[in-house]
Amino acid sequence: MAVVFQKTKGLTDTPFHYCPGCTHGIVHRLVAEVMEELGVLDKAIGVAPVGCAVFAYEYFNCDMQEAAHGRAPAVATGIKRVHPDKIVFTYQGDGDLAAIGTAETVHAAARGENITVIFINNAIYGMTGGQMAPTSLIGQETLTTPYGRKPENNGYPIKMCEMLSTLEGASYIERVSVYDVKHVLNAKKAIKNAFTAQINKKGFSMIEVLSSCPTNWGMSPNEALKWIKDKMEPYYPLGVYKNTLEEVKQNG
């Protein structure tokens, strides 16, 4: 039997608390594997968000700080300014990063803060039970948009990659997904690029991962993966939005 799944040193032994079929777990593993492969676990300092990933500090096998809701990029900035040679990353949901923490996100990028942001876009507030997120799609029914998200009342979903890629300080910005094996592998490559940008002191890097929340979408795990592909991806096109990494440019 082939080894399909080998445990990475980047994760602790604490079992994940995520719902069955939630893609938070997959992304945790990718980030952990990348840190292990890049050999930065001993000098990585992570910042956990407020959201379903609030317990990320239990899972990543490196030093961690827990931030207030939305403030992770500011906390990471503080850490990075104390330890410019360490690898600093945040792991944030859409509510955390693109609603309450928009200012912190935008300004960390604008400053070219040399940190890596892992952004879980699941189009919902998972932890609080399924309210509208800034990234919820038009028409999407949530606890706080019981009649569907309407532009007249709730405006339009925010495309963070597109927005941030206009900022000089951003070095590497890519949107990926994890709804099948091919995309998972690609997501890992993207995360590696983002960390590499930081190691090369290029400035702010962010990987947006289109993710699922079967629980609050009211779907089976498989239906949820399909929903990412069919509903989210058309609005949030995958791809590299900003790249100042020479090697990646050459290798494609």
């Binding site: 207030a68 609603a99 928009t102 507030y125 609080t128 039970g129 606890l143 019981p146």
Partner: protein, 354 residues
């Protein structure tokens, strides 16, 4: 409408709507999420506005705008979110804008937990934001009372042009009890003219300005003194409390909100052992009721304050008792709730003392 079974959070929302509130700004946080969900459904039905803000900082400033523009406006959150609002609340009080703010408290400090707590008492009653200002703070202990106090809160907010806070805890927000909306005082729902509001000048000759900036210290001092005259009036007219079994009591418990209900169970336990225990339940936390302490401090042996905090309201109790009798404290924190048995033990300890 007959009696309906409702969560505290839902009753809070419905009472606001019945009080004429048509503007609600919020941001999700446990354990008050049912308010946002209820408003999201209900506001469109009554032609009102429900808006999920991008943060509590933003939400409270929407309230500042809407309240200044003359609307009856509600905002709700739980402890961490209320902390974020403190800047806005200070501006609202400074600019004399009426609004109702509900804090369905959870355990802190920091991110803390999501289980019930009363550890924001200081923040609610002693300021919280910068500057000299006060919130009028009301603490319901049943779902029916939640509905009643929310209605009164809108009335009081308009009367004093000041923010009023409903201080509840996660238990009160989450639990269900029957509510009768028919017995609420409807006259308090009448919204009086707000000639000071920014409605657009229309035929008005004077401009209306909602503002808390004043660079001239003399004028700013006068403004502060004017605001405090309102507070003096409120301190006379808005005191609310309940006294139970106090006349013959040897020991009087002091507790507010849901913990007052736990205290009542403790009183029952004490009765079984022939210990006479009473209860003072402050309903307005600011203005804090001093009356019931004046009435009882001559005959009672001691007071025992019970809170879901490390000891906050107990300071006001001590001020009211003014050193004339012992004031004891028993608290549980972090989402733990005092148990009636444990309270009885405390009562016995106090009795045992000389």
């Amino acid at each position: 409408m007959a009696k309906v079974l409702m969560k505290g959070n839902e009753a809070l929302a419905e009472a606001a709507i019945q009080a004429g509130c048509r503007h609600y700004f919020g941001y999700p946080i446990t354990p008050q999420n049912e308010v946002t969900a209820y408003m999201a459904k209900r506001m469109p039905e009554v032609g009102g506005v429900f808006l999920q803000a991008e943060s509590e900082v933003s939400a409270i400033n929407m309230v500042y705008g809407a309240g200044g523009a003359g609307a009856r406006v509600l905002i709700t959150s739980s402890s961490p979110g209320i902390s974020l609002m403190q800047e806005g609340i200070s501006y609202i009080a400074g600019a004399e804008v009426p609004c109702v703010i509900a804090n369905i408290m959870r355990g802190g400090p920091g991110l803390g937990g999501i289980q019930p707590s009363q550890s924001d008492y200081f923040q609610a009653t002693k300021g919280g934001g910068h500057g000299d200002y006060k919130l009028i703070v009301l603490a319901p202990s049943t779902i029916q009372e939640m509905a009643e106090l929310v209605q009164q809160a809108f009335h009081i907010a308009d009367k004093y042009r000041n923010p009023v806070m409903i201080l509840g805890d996660g238990m009160l927000g989450q639990m269900m009890e029957p509510v009768d909306f028919d017995i609420l005082k409807k006259e308090e729902n009448k919204i009086e003219e707000k000639p000071w509001a920014t409605t657009g000048m229309g035929t008005r000759s004077k401009r209306n300005i909602i503002n808390s900036l004043e660079l001239d210290p003399q004028v700013l001092e006068k403004h502060n003194i004017e605001i405090f005259k309102k507070y003096q009036k409120a301190a006379k007219e808005e005191v609310r409390y309940e006294m139970t079994d106090c006349e013959e009591a040897e020991i009087i418990l002091v507790a507010y909100g849901t913990i007052a209900r736990v205290a009542k169970n403790a009183i029952e336990l004490a009765k079984r052992e022939n210990i006479k225990v009473g209860l003072i339940r402050p309903i307005s936390l600011w203005p804090f009721p001093e009356e019931p302490f004046k009435k009882t401090r001559d005959h009672v042996k001691a007071y025992l304050t019970i809170e879901m905090s490390m000891g906050q309201m107990v300071e006001d109790v001590k001020l009211a008792v003014n050193g004339q009798k012992e004031v004891h404290f028993y608290g549980r924190v972090g989402g733990m709730v005092p148990e009636p048995m444990a309270i009885l033990e405390e009562i016995k300890k106090i009795r045992g003392k000389k």
